[in-house]
Each structure stands twice: as C-alpha cells, then as structure tokens.
C-alpha cells in the first residue's frame, strides 16, 4: 500500500497517477496498432480525448446537479480538484455516449473502433489493479493460505495482486500484433477482451474482502460479471456464425 508518492517536497497521490499513466500507455499501445483496424492514430486520440473530457465534465455536472445545496455556499467548488466531487457512473455513461456520437458523426465503423480501443482497455485494466494495490482498495478476504498477506491484523488473500496478474495475463494473451488476432472478425478482439475480463472478475471477486453485496450475501460484481459473460458467449456464437468480411 502506497497511496502517496513523495517526490521531494511534493506529495503525489499515487492511485490516480497510476490510472492516468495507464490511460496514456494504453493509448500509445492502441495508436501503434490502430492501422490494423482501418483507423488512424489521430482519429483514435480524438475519440478518447472527447470521451474523457465529456466524462469528466459530465461527472462533475452530475454531482453538482445531484447536490446543489452543497455548492450553494461555495460555488467555486464546482471547479475543485477533489476527486470525491465526481459522479463516476454518470460520468462514464456520458463519456461513452459522447464518444459514440463523435464516432458516428465521423462514420467510424463501430466494431473496428471497439477493436482498436481494446489494447488500451487491457492496459487500463492492468493499471487500475495496480492503483488498487497502491491505495489499499479492493483488498482480500481473510485467508490462511501460505501466500496470504498480513493486513490490519489478519491474514488476507492478496486480491489486488490476483487482479493485477489476471489483467496482465489477459493483456499478454491479447497483445496486439499476435497472428490469431488478425484472423478475427470485426468486433471479435473487443469481445474476447470483455469475455475474458468478465470471467476474471467472476472468479477473482470471490476472493475480495470488500465486495458490494446483494441480498443473501451475493457479490454484486460477480453477478454482473456472470451476466456479461453469458451475453459474451452468446455474442461469440453470433459473430462466428456470420460470414467473414474480406
């Protein structure tokens, strides 16, 4: 756990920094291989930039609209750097919507665009697991296994390390440029990433000590991952049954 990186007199919050580095490295990797999917690097960069800016602005606006009374006495807080003043879920929805609208207006092919973004998403997922390791979030459930770690007076699964290893394996398997990826139908690369990531979440969430719970003690993330995994299996069938475009 290392929530703060001390660089001389400056204390940098490491978890969000790792996420930003993940986005940057993911974008670099995606841009290097974007030509395989019929797009160019500028198009991909603009798409990601528009999605991110819209997402950030949307997340802050959604928060302000949700809690207007909190900002009434200090309206300049609308521009605060506090990460706690964002609505991440609404921000993600707005960011994706903005990117979709931009892609449609520029006539980007949907499935190939998703494929082009996949290496970036895989790197981002890995960076997110590392950011959890730095912040101490997403910690493991109690365990007596030989590799469990002592955390807050009790031995626990190293759940963040499981997540990082899982994300690294998926990234390695789907590393762009591998021969079999070139043989996939449009959308197949993205679908493979979502299928593997949902399967990893389904398995690894079971080792977490801080899961959001549904009635009966079921872990919400596992149930969502299970549904997505089922939809992906169905979609893989559909894609494979379609004739391959030359």
């Amino acid at each position: 756990m290392m929530p703060v990186l001390q660089v001389g007199p400056v204390a940098l919050p490491l978890p969000p920094l790792l996420v930003l580095v993940g986005i940057w490295l993911g974008l670099i990797l995606a841009e290097r291989h974007v030509a395989h999917f019929g797009l160019n690097a500028d198009q991909l960069f603009n798409l990601v930039l528009i999605g991110m800016i819209s997402g950030l602005v949307g997340a802050r606006l959604a928060y302000v609209i949700r809690y207007p009374q909190a900002f009434a006495g200090s309206p300049l807080d609308v521009f605060s750097r506090n990460l706690g003043l964002f609505d991440p879920l609404i921000g993600a929805v707005i960011g994706v919507l903005a990117a979709v609208i931009y892609a449609q207006r520029r006539h980007f092919p949907l499935l190939s665009t998703l494929d082009a973004l996949t290496p970036g998403l895989a790197v981002f997922t890995f960076a997110l697991a590392l950011s959890h390791l730095a912040s101490g979030d997403a910690f493991g459930a109690p365990s007596n296994l030989p590799w469990s770690l002592e955390l807050w007076g009790i031995r626990r699964h190293p759940a963040q390390i499981y997540d990082a290893v899982g994300a690294a394996l998926i990234l390695g398997y789907l590393w762009p440029g591998r021969k079999f990826l070139g043989e996939m139908r449009p959308g197949g690369y993205f679908l493979s990433f979502i299928t593997l990531t949902s399967a990893a979440r389904l398995i690894l969430e079971g080792f977490r000590g801080d899961s959001a719970l549904l009635p009966g003690g079921l872990r919400a993330a596992q149930v969502i991952a299970w549904l997505i995994f089922g939809i992906c299996l169905y979609a893989i069938d559909r894609i494979k049954s379609q004739p391959k475009l030359e």
Partner: protein, 191 residues
C-alpha cells in the same frame, strides 16, 4: 480459428459447454458468497468498512477526549500539522461545517500530528483561525501510527456507529465535499 475460440467446442456442442460454464460460474457465486461470519462488522482498522480504532488524547485545553465516547455522533477525524499548506487551507471549510452541523450531531476531532509539529505553532494557528472544534495533541504520534498515517492531511469520516465510511488522503477538501459527506453521515440511523 483463434486459440480463444478453440476453448469452445464445435457448434453442435456449444450450448451445453456454455451452459456448463455458466453453471460453474453460478456455483462459484454461491460458494463464494459472504456469510455473516465473513462480514467486516466489528473488525477494527483505519479503512472504510471497518470500525475506527479507538483513542483518547488531550485537547489544547488539556481536556481528555475519547473517540468511543462520541459513539452515536457523526465524527470527522482530521490529522494535520501547522506547517502543511493543504492542512491550513482546509481548516476554514472544516470550521464552517462544524458551525453549521455541530448542533445536529457532528463532531470534528482535529488531531495535530504534534510529533512532527510545533505545539505552539499549532495552537497559534487554531487561535488565529478561531477554530472552535477540539484540537487534539498527539505528542508521541500514537494516533498517527494507529491510523497508519502516510500523508498530511488525512481525513476519516465516521458514521454514528463508529465505522469508517470514507478516508480522504491529501487536501485541501472543498467545503461542498464536506457538506455532502456530513449530510450523508448525519442521515444514518444511530446504533
């Protein structure tokens, strides 16, 4: 055929394989569900979801204040030092919300990391800003160690049941952020 697709058998056998995978997933969800014995309730750690570690410290007037005595109130624990610029910047916002919400059941414990600060400078600073919430003096760094302090300021938001709802590392915190968190804490039922 890609290696990934090879994981799944030919079309005729696909649906059973898919069903087997989904059934295995469903069984794992059931097997790994959280039972009441697994829940964090009652565990003590300086992390969200856990009970806040208890402590008692003297305030700047010498009055001993114990965290456990505040059970039933929403509590903000702010670890700070007078030489730390973001700590200084967020104090006026903390004072404002203390003035607005103290009567409704909010308590703020501003724990001065005195082992890394000058006690006189800390008291002068609180007097200069007219802070009315307790300034606790952590002379030997006991609370800093108990809460595994890694950066100043660090702020812990505690519900009425004494559990940590959120930890914010760094600052300065905006007044709006404090108001949203406090409203949420005060809205919780007392234990």
């Amino acid at each position: 055929m890609t290696p990934f697709e090879r994981l799944l058998p030919a079309r005729a056998g696909k649906i059973p394989t898919h069903l087997i995978l989904l059934l295995a997933g469903a069984l794992w969800i059931w097997f790994s569900r959280v039972t009441p014995q697994d829940a964090l309730a009652g565990s003590v750690a300086p992390r969200p979801g856990f009970q806040a570690p208890d402590f008692d410290l003297p305030d700047s007037q010498g009055v001993q204040i114990s965290l456990s005595a505040l059970r039933g109130q929403a509590v903000i624990i702010n670890l700070w030092a007078s030489w730390c610029p973001p700590c200084r910047q967020e104090m006026p916002a903390l004072q404002k919300v203390y003035r607005d919400y103290h009567e409704q059941g909010l308590e703020i414990l501003a724990v001065n990391a005195t082992s890394q600060d000058n006690i006189q400078a800390a008291i002068e600073f609180s007097t200069e800003l007219g802070l009315t919430f307790p300034i606790l003096i952590d002379t030997d760094g006991r609370v800093s160690r108990l809460y595994q302090l890694q950066s100043l300021p660090t702020t812990y938001f505690l519900g009425r049941d004494g559990s940590i709802q959120e930890v914010i590392v760094g600052g300065p915190m905006a007044e709006a952020l404090l108001r949203v968190r406090i409203e949420r804490l005060l809205g919780q039922a007392a234990p």
